[in-house]
Symmetry: C2
Subunit: 418 residues, 2 copies
């Protein structure tokens, strides 16, 4: 395995020649493969179908088919309190996706402000910190509300805390989005030290809020998953109980778009959110909440269910990672992290090559997540990051798609090098 | 039957004496009856349980259990297009309640403005017209966004259009909430003339919006229901296609809080809403959409289902109306309308007596909708209107509750008269 930088021009040209031949062969196959979004596979959806079998919708004598119970049914609040390591009084059950919980919370900060502070819409400028690469839909929310996004680099154990501690001295910096476990797209779990430093932040803005999007909270791939420190256990030490809004959902446990979501926050924040919610709805879908509570039973049941997902996900992650290792290892043109959970593999290619990789893949029939999407405003300043979503395609398709990706990476780099 | 105004003081005192005796008898029964909210009864919920039987979630080859389809599944868009008399391209499927559709739309006007107009949050004052009595949750939305509410009286055939045509000359008047069929709480269906005059409005504000909350669109009680002119058929005559946002839901067809909702609007408005929706969610619950489409089949199926509701509602409405007629008819202390559908009976008692009626009912164990709730800011200027919600209690309870209500009305009026 020789790194490209150590090759002569002739060697590089020969390599390119050979790769072009492979590339043409793939193209000739007329494939249509999709590695673009973190969608569960059909098999993953099938394992939750028992969820639909429940027909008794009475809980504690209350008919859950009727109006009422704004904050969620007790059994669900208990389940998610256990999952998130908080008390039920700190839980609000949400709609069919945590994305809406996040959007609505930012909308609330924008129109009404945080706990009596000036609404963000009334301020000349509002900024948010965005660990990058990150989740495009976080960025979409911020862009919708015209909140200026500031990139903060991700390190091996979470976002660059030195940078963050400096940036929060600016009072117009009002918050930060995080995916603290199996981050999207890198699969990085924040270290205890990073979680503690976040919990200990002393932002200039009183209404600074960390949106703790724990989307992959128990989405392990291996028996031994990463451990994330519970930030709500640490916040009180620094008097920062109100600083974090945590969300999660069953989108990738049961059904995407037909699951349930939950929000965890201090009692003050919950009360603040309920003021809005009281105008926005009478309740979210309690029948779906009940189905989920019955289906999982308890946290152990939820974890047991997630092992079934892990069994389906593991061969797919390994398929992609093996190809990356075999084809790109030692070439010095790309780097990646081997995640132990979550939904993505993040691939960093030679700067200035990512867009070209996307084009080549497309030409050969493989759709990747829009290159650049993992950065605010869709602009990867280094044009380097590619998000791979291995969950949806069958393993045999993933086999080909990964090869095409690897060949495209090498071709794009060679085009640059030669 | 002698009107109170024609009675001598002695006759009034004797009447009061007799009523107080009845009142004490009711109190001694220690009842706990609820006529406060428009909740369907258990029997009404039971008739939709087949909705939960569907297990096949593939539609047009697409797995509805997975992510995607922001605007709603085609079968549901078709069904609601037929119901609302528009094209599927004018339909957006919503979340579990149309209340959220309305809240989110107002929120969007507030933060981002209507079709390029100045966001309402940036204006010194925004006003909305509120036909009164009306639906308290409309008022709650407006109050949340600090939109000033202006009362417009309801007449027999809809809101006072002379007043509205005058009020919309004020550019700060940005919209109006309407329940055009079987209005909440009066059960009035807007006449063709009223619908046409609304469609023909020439508001000073370019971004004036009528929120057409068609909550009881096919919620008839009798075989012959009221006919509401389809406002979308009339709007083009006046070039006002963009002025109306219509919503409806299955909350009172299948399950409150676990149904589906729909919004109908011009293509320009739909596109404007989708811009927000694209940041707010990936899709609403398509599995629930599919269940509903399968359960109803088509508009005829939906109407057939609603006849089952009517059969359960009719005896309850008649029970209340009979008591009102027998006990209050000819007394000159109260008036009411006999609705042909919807969820409520609106009772207007002698001015200055409604709150007292609420107190007396409570004392005797009957909970009414908070008196005043049918007016903005909870303030009925005449203290006259009482909303009766007959759907939830069993007929035998409704029998007693109606008697208690009638006795309380008469007592409250006698207290005033003597």
């Amino acid at each position: 395995m020789k790194a490209y930088k150590d090759m002569t021009k002739e060697e590089l040209c020969a390599e390119k020649e050979a790769l072009l031949k492979r590339f043409e062969d793939y193209k000739a196959m007329g494939l249509k493969l999709d590695m673009s979004r973190g969608k569960p596979s059909k098999e993953q959806l099938d394992i939750s179908m028992k969820l639909l079998d429940y027909t008794d919708y009475i809980e504690d004598g209350i008919d859950l088919r009727n109006y009422g119970i704004l904050d969620g049914i007790p059994s669900c609040k208990k389940l998610f309190a256990d999952l998130l390591g908080v008390e039920p009084k700190n839980i609000l059950m949400g709609p069919n996706a945590s994305l809406s919980l996040m959007f609505d919370y930012i909308a609330q900060c924008y129109s009404h402000g945080v706990l009596g502070c000036t609404p963000w819409s009334k301020l000349p400028e509002v900024k948010f910190l965005c660990p990058v690469p990150g989740y495009d839909r976080h960025f979409t929310i911020l862009e919708y509300f015209n909140i200026k996004m500031i990139n903060v680099d991700m390190k091996d154990d979470g976002p660059d805390m030195d940078a963050i501690e400096e940036l929060v001295k600016d009072e117009s910096v009002k918050g930060m989005f995080c995916v603290p476990k199996y981050s999207n797209p890198q699969g990085i779990t924040f270290s205890d030290e990073v979680v503690k430093r976040i919990a200990a932040l002393k932002p200039a803005a009183e209404d600074f809020r960390v949106i703790w999007d724990n989307a992959y909270i128990i989405h392990e791939i291996y028996d031994e998953g990463d451990e994330l420190l519970n930030i709500f256990d640490v916040l009180p030490e620094y008097g920062n109980e109100d600083m974090v809004i945590e969300v999660c959902s069953t989108s990738k446990m049961t059904f995407p778009g037909a699951g349930i979501s939950a929000l965890a926050a201090s009692e003050a924040n919950i009360a603040d959110i309920l003021k809005r919610l009281n105008a926005q709805t009478i309740s979210y879908d309690k029948m779906n909440q009940h189905r989920h509570a019955e289906f999982f039973g308890d946290l152990e049941g939820m974890k047991a269910h997630m092992k079934k997902h892990a069994a389906l996900m593991k061969p797919k992650f390994e398929m992609v990672l093996n190809h990356l290792q075999n084809e790109l290892g030692g070439k010095g043109v790309a780097s990646w992290i081997e995640p132990r959970g979550g939904y993505f593999i993040s691939l960093d290619v030679m700067p200035g090559c990512a867009k070209r990789v996307g084009e080549l893949c497309k030409e050969a029939g493989v759709t990747l997540t829009s290159v650049g999407a993992t950065y605010p405003y869709g602009k990867d300043p280094k044009d380097s990051n590619i998000r791979i979503a291995p969950s949806l395609p069958p393993v045999n398709e993933l086999d080909i798609a990964s090869q095409i990706l690897c060949v495209s990476v090498k071709l794009a780099c060679l085009e640059k090098l030669i």
